[in-house]
């Protein structure tokens, strides 16, 4: 998997690619392990709801206390259902994000990748950050989906970090000639002008030791470049906008 330099060294990008491949395998195993007990819980919760509905029907109207307890059981089932739906969605997004069955380039709907990535960064956004999506009608593009998802993940996590309290992340997609554009903007603190020219350099970080790796954006840059696209950044004190331009048909 690793592409070595002529001297035989591992580049940060190739190490990252290996990490993603390992992650893919891990996700495959975890998804299987979770889906089996999840299937049992999901099905049994439905069994409980059905059984209670039948008991209720058989017994007919009951005294207030019995009805109240039946209502509680119904509510518990509804709650469990919402919780299992959430887990199922996360596992689905994990599988989608890692795109296990497709290591190579193929035609994909990038909105699907953006949605899966959003589910996975949800815990960083919580109720603090609103996500506004303005998706255009896009054709599928030829790309390496797992790598592009990584780019979206990096930019979205950076955006979440840049917003101190409440804020908004706007994700806009559009088609322009033979390209698609993904514009991700945040209402965060912005990037100082003197840093802007360096943010795609390997090893450049402002987050301090232990917070950022200083590799994230340089890897994004490399990935987009490998797709014959470009990644641009604009920033002010009102926030930062990343624009990723990708050719629909890879040259």
């Amino acid at each position: 998997m690793s592409k070595k330099t002529q001297e035989g060294e591992l580049t940060p990008q190739s190490i990252q690619a290996d990490k993603m491949a390992a992650l893919g395998l891990l996700v495959a195993g975890v998804a299987h392990e979770i889906n089996t007990p999840m299937g049992a819980i999901h099905s049994n919760n439905d069994n409980m709801r059905r059984a209670v509905a039948k008991i209720r029907k058989l017994l007919g109207p009951q005294e207030q206390e019995v009805e109240r307890l039946f209502d509680i059981v119904d509510e518990v089932c509804r709650n469990n259902e919402a919780a299992t739906e959430r887990i199922m969605k996360i596992v689905h997004s994990l599988k989608n994000f890692a795109r296990l069955d497709e290591a190579e380039r193929k035609e994909v709907d990038i909105h699907e990748g953006i949605e899966s990535t959003l589910t996975l960064v949800q815990h960083q956004l919580k109720n603090r950050i609103r996500v506004e999506k303005q998706f255009a009608d896009l054709p599928e593009i030829q790309c390496h989906p797992i790598q592009l998802n990584q780019v979206f993940m990096n930019i979205l996590v950076n955006a979440a970090h840049a917003i101190p309290d409440q804020g908004t992340i706007t994700i806009k997609t559009l088609k322009e000639g033979g390209n698609v554009k993904v514009v991700i903007g945040d209402t965060g603190v912005g990037i100082p002008q003197e840093h802007l020219s360096k943010i795609f350099d390997p090893g450049f970080t402002t987050k301090g030791v232990g917070l950022g790796t200083g590799l994230g954006l340089s890897i994004c840059y490399k990935i987009v470049q490998d797709h014959n696209g470009k990644i641009e950044v604009e920033s002010s004190s009102a926030g930062t906008i990343f624009t990723i331009t990708l050719p629909i048909k890879d040259a």
């Binding site: 889906n35 049992a40 819980i41 099905s43 059905r50 059984a51």
Partner: protein, 162 residues
């Protein structure tokens, strides 16, 4: 659908007791199907062999320690070629699963975690398809017999005029 009114028997194999039990509960609440369950595909095959059970539909898990679901269902196909086979899987590698499915000729592929209502619908459709196939087979036999009789008559007629 007269044959559907007699209680259909469904064979379910999954190495996880919790999966078997939840489907058992569902059937107990929502259907009058007879459910035969195994956590070992080997034992399920022995049962089919030994008891010459009349089984109307088979559901199997994919990843099991003894043999995978595709192998199991291929063996079921040898013994019970007409019976619809359903694979119930939590396995993530969909493309390979689908390839395997095409090799054994499955009726359906259901992903875990499954939806009870979907499962019910798929089973009902599978059973109906099986009944229709049986009816079709009977009709074909009938037509073949009629054709044989007809050609006998034709021979007789030719003999008379010869």
């Amino acid at each position: 659908m007269s044959e559907l009114s007699s209680t259909p028997t469904i064979l379910l194999v999954d190495d996880e007791e919790m999966v078997v039990n939840s489907i058992k509960s569902f059937f107990a609440i929502e259907s009058d199907y007879k459910l035969v369950t195994y956590t070992s595909p080997q034992k399920a095959l022995e049962d089919i062999e030994r008891n010459h059970r009349s089984i109307d539909l088979v559901i199997s898990d994919y990843l099991m320690p003894e043999m995978d679901g595709i192998t199991f269902l291929a063996k079921v196909k040898e013994k019970l070629p007409m019976v619809p086979r359903i694979l119930l899987t939590g396995y993530a590698d969909k493309e390979n699963a689908i390839k395997a499915i095409n090799n054994v000729g499955l009726y359906q592929y259901i992903e875990k975690p499954w939806d009870n209502e979907d499962l019910k619908l798929i089973i009902r459709n599978g059973l109906e398809k099986n009944v229709l196939l049986k009816q079709l087979e009977a009709k074909i036999r009938e037509v073949e017999r009629a054709q044989r009789e007809l050609s006998e008559v034709q021979k007789d007629i030719l003999r008379v005029f010869a």
